[in-house]
Every structure is written in structure tokens, then in C-alpha cells.
Amino acid sequence: MLFFSYFKELVGKEVTVELKNDLAITGTLHSVDQYLNIKLENTRVVDEAKYPHMLSVKNCFIRGSVVRYVQLPPDGVDVDILHDATRREARGT
């Protein structure tokens, strides 16, 4: 639940999602769910020439299970709050 809540705070920010098939997509985080499925808006593929079929795709749904990384803006993280939340979560289990 921690990362679900964390991503909910990032809705509206620009992120780059790198998938396990090496496709990297930049876009605005529109929504996230309990499976960490991601919906991005205003998407553009990082290496456009390699993926011509994505040319007219501007919004997409990404299944959580295929995400390798979610690259965030450097100021997108409040490390202290994240640390506190992590400690709380660890104590709970």
C-alpha cells in the first residue's frame, strides 16, 4: 500500500516508465491503482524511431507487472516523509 499511496501523491507529475521489454515512455502520471498499473497522458516514447507503432498513442495504460523502473523528477521525492512512511510500514509487519 505504501507505494500505491506514494504514486498517488505523484499524480500530475512527469515520469518516465521503463518497461521490462526495454521500452521507455515519458508522460504525465494520470492515475495508479493497487496493482501499480499506471495510466500516462501526453506520452512520448524515449527512442521514437525504434517504436513507430506508438506514434499516435498519446495516452496509455501500463500493466504494473511489466514495469522495471519509474523515473521521477529529482524534486519529486520528499525523502523524510518517505523514510517515515517506510518505517511505519515496516513496524506494522
Partner: protein, 127 residues
């Protein structure tokens, strides 16, 4: 949210994409284009009038597939194709299924050849 009615879907639902033409990328690298008719919480989807879009270099081909039920675990990405925009760069050439299969095989052979050559160079351990 217990007060939400049965029709309120979570934020990332595909409900907004129903009856739209979508691009579905699968784990095996295939790209299917079709109209979303149904989905569920596992991202299983039903795609009507689906075609497989094969792209090799500048060539492309759409193979008609019909009505598909895709198991969610194979889905990588579901993209909304903007009807106003061109789906593919205009310089791409549509070819027949036979031609695209030939082009795919040529691409596979070239990658294989590159792979074996690299293995040979690595064996020599040139620095």
C-alpha cells in the same frame, strides 16, 4: 471506498477506452490493433476486429485476426490511438503478408549473424 456505486471504477480502469481503437503490446513483442469491447481487473481484454501490425524497418503489414480474447498476464501496454493523428510515419510502405514475413526472417537472420560474430569476437577477447 464503500459508498462508491457499482459503476465507479478505480482510477486506472479501461472503461474510458471502451469501443475505442487501441494498440495492445504483448509480452512476446506482438502489436495488436483493435476495438476494446471488454476488460477485467486482470487486464484480460476482448478486442474486436483486431489486426496484428508487423513493422520491419520501413515496411509494415496489418494481418487481420478477428475477435480476440487476450489473457491479461500477456499485456504490456494498452495505448489509445488518436484518430486525428497518423498511426504510422508517412514514409512507411505497406506490403503483403508474404513480403513482411520475408523481411522478418531477414531481420532475424541478421540479428543471429550479429550474435554469432559477437560471440566469436568475445572468445578472442580482444581488448
Amino acid at each position: 471506498m464503500s459508498w462508491a456505486g457499482p459503476d465507479t471504477f478505480p482510477a486506472t480502469s479501461l472503461a474510458d477506452n471502451l469501443d475505442k481503437k487501441l494498440l495492445v503490446i504483448l509480452r512476446d513483442g506482438r502489436k495488436l490493433v483493435g476495438i476494446l469491447r471488454s476488460f477485467d481487473q486482470f487486464a484480460n481484454v476482448v478486442l474486436e476486429r483486431s489486426t496484428e501490425r508487423i513493422i520491419v524497418g520501413e515496411l509494415f503489414c496489418d494481418l487481420p485476426l478477428g475477435l480476440y480474447v487476450i489473457r491479461g498476464e500477456n499485456v504490456v501496454l494498452i495505448g489509445e490511438l488518436d484518430p486525428e493523428k497518423e498511426e504510422l510515419p508517412s514514409h512507411m510502405v505497406r506490403v503483403s503478408p508474404a513480403d513482411i514475413r520475408r523481411a522478418q526472417k531477414a531481420e532475424r537472420d541478421a540479428t543471429e549473424l550479429k550474435g554469432t560474430m559477437r560471440k566469436r569476437m568475445e572468445f578472442l577477447d580482444l581488448d
